[in-house]
Symmetry: C2
Subunit: 354 residues, 2 copies
Amino acid sequence: MDIKFIKREELQEKPDQKKLGFGKYFADYMFTMDYDEGIGWHDATIRPYGPIEMNPATVVLHYAQETFEGLKAYRRADGQIQLFRPEMNARRMINSNERLCMATIPEDMFIEAVNALVKAEEDWVPSEPETSLYIRPFAFACESSLGVHKSKAYKFVIILSPVGAYYAEGLAPVKIMVEDEYVRAVQGGTGFTKCGGNYAGSIIGQVKAEKYGCSQVLWLDGRERKYVEEVGAMNIMFKIDGEIYTAPIEGTVLPGVTRDSIIHILKDWGYKVNETHLSVDDLMQAGRDGRLEEVYGTGTAAVISPVGALVYKGEEITINNFKIGELTQKLYDYLTGIQWGKEEDKYGWTRLVK
Amino acid sequence: MDIKFIKREELQEKPDQKKLGFGKYFADYMFTMDYDEGIGWHDATIRPYGPIEMNPATVVLHYAQETFEGLKAYRRADGQIQLFRPEMNARRMINSNERLCMATIPEDMFIEAVNALVKAEEDWVPSEPETSLYIRPFAFACESSLGVHKSKAYKFVIILSPVGAYYAEGLAPVKIMVEDEYVRAVQGGTGFTKCGGNYAGSIIGQVKAEKYGCSQVLWLDGRERKYVEEVGAMNIMFKIDGEIYTAPIEGTVLPGVTRDSIIHILKDWGYKVNETHLSVDDLMQAGRDGRLEEVYGTGTAAVISPVGALVYKGEEITINNFKIGELTQKLYDYLTGIQWGKEEDKYGWTRLVK
């Protein structure tokens, strides 16, 4: 792929690495590429980060034909930079775009674009503990026409944001509310994709959870509102009687890269992992009986997020005395160890940026 | 409301009223208004139609916090211009925005903005038969930050497009495919709103329908995929044994303004209207038995759209010999008669633009 480079006049001052937060600062450059029916993807360019001009009739502003991805570049102790399983993101974006009838970005093109942009912006990969460069590829329909139809033109953009821990609280356990009124996804819908609509529809659950003193929502299945699915910003796993339970990938749950990695590691460590429909009633009963040993979320942004309590229909179940579980901590240390290059990468998951 | 006016240097040439199509041409001016938390809506402005500058990290491009409406301005024979039940659109947009946790536009503000823009652009309301000025109000989250959260800033925009008939075929019956793989909406989701995500997720059904020689999709409920709901771009009604059947407004179906108007008219005409869950099996059986007398879609864009055939699991049922039904034609003539000011407005549905 031939990538054009448009130089920026003046570079920004870089933010304090100790106060990054999540998704608030953006690197100097972004990657853009356009698609037109009959031509394909063209004009791959690394250009100064800046506004995109949009016709008010652009399809994405009306019918939300848009998908995104999220991955990170990590600074190793030796100064080199590495990505974590970027091909998983590339493939997931292809699946997302196919479901939304959008032009797909071939896997090698996706990885080349990510690699080239991160390479160009390597000074933006922070080195403080727990920090990384969050990479946000996204695509949207940019034809200007109001009839509801498959767009003939798309834009693919990658922006970069240096980030600290996703939760201000760090690796502290969070309280999660089980939502039984609103629904995030149903079989036949878009739940397995990273499309904007999934997130727009789930903000109401987040707002409600916060009202009840919880920091996240645990969604139930859309058909029976009986089985636990995911947390919206992450997948979720439960350790009950020594075994791990998590929702299967069957169309409603996002196939998380961290989820998949953790399942690999757990199996290697000898754990039985049940990718199965776990009912919220069985989950709460396990909590009451003291058999629910650990709960944690998995996702690129937070990596592993321990859950200290679950609230469902007014009942609150505390997990492991609201302390990080032993396995949760071990998984976090090991996986982030691979990501930052402190642990040997025996799975071949990392890819040096060069 | 104080509306600022920014004059345009040069006006566009108006398109041929006989070749308008749908949503392809846009009037010279648009309305814009901004919302910021703590300030509320501000800077209401009628300005030249033109690009909106958007930061690449704008929430709407990632999490699709966006809603829209659709209504029309009609040119009467006496030259005056009228809107049709705009308060219904204003209220529906409030409901949409509340579900998506977006700032709401008060009803009077919405109507004032629509009225002021149409008044300013009255030359753009076409006068040829079957033409009108389509009004597209839309709102979206415009904060720039990548954490998934309720945005603190929104933009409300209204654009205008002179339109002809929605379907190129005119009031000719269309063939519709009943979709049993993909799902549009489920209880607890966003089906009752006009949010972008609903449309992004349903394009795949449209594409599939076209493959099978159909022009639209008939969606089934998301829980059992058993009951007929709506067509995505319109609500749908069935005349079986002299009675009318249509899906109830219970969270998954869009509460259409045309749907509501047609139900009023039908009841006045003495028809029994059943807002009930009609199973696709019962529907197909009625078709086989010759009891399915007429089928039509209702929506602002197409008003009334006769359905000539239904395809479900490979079986095709023809309705009324693929001809417009008598009631369908009568409803179309009467409702469009009110909209264009040819029929007496006994329901008080129209509102002169002044």
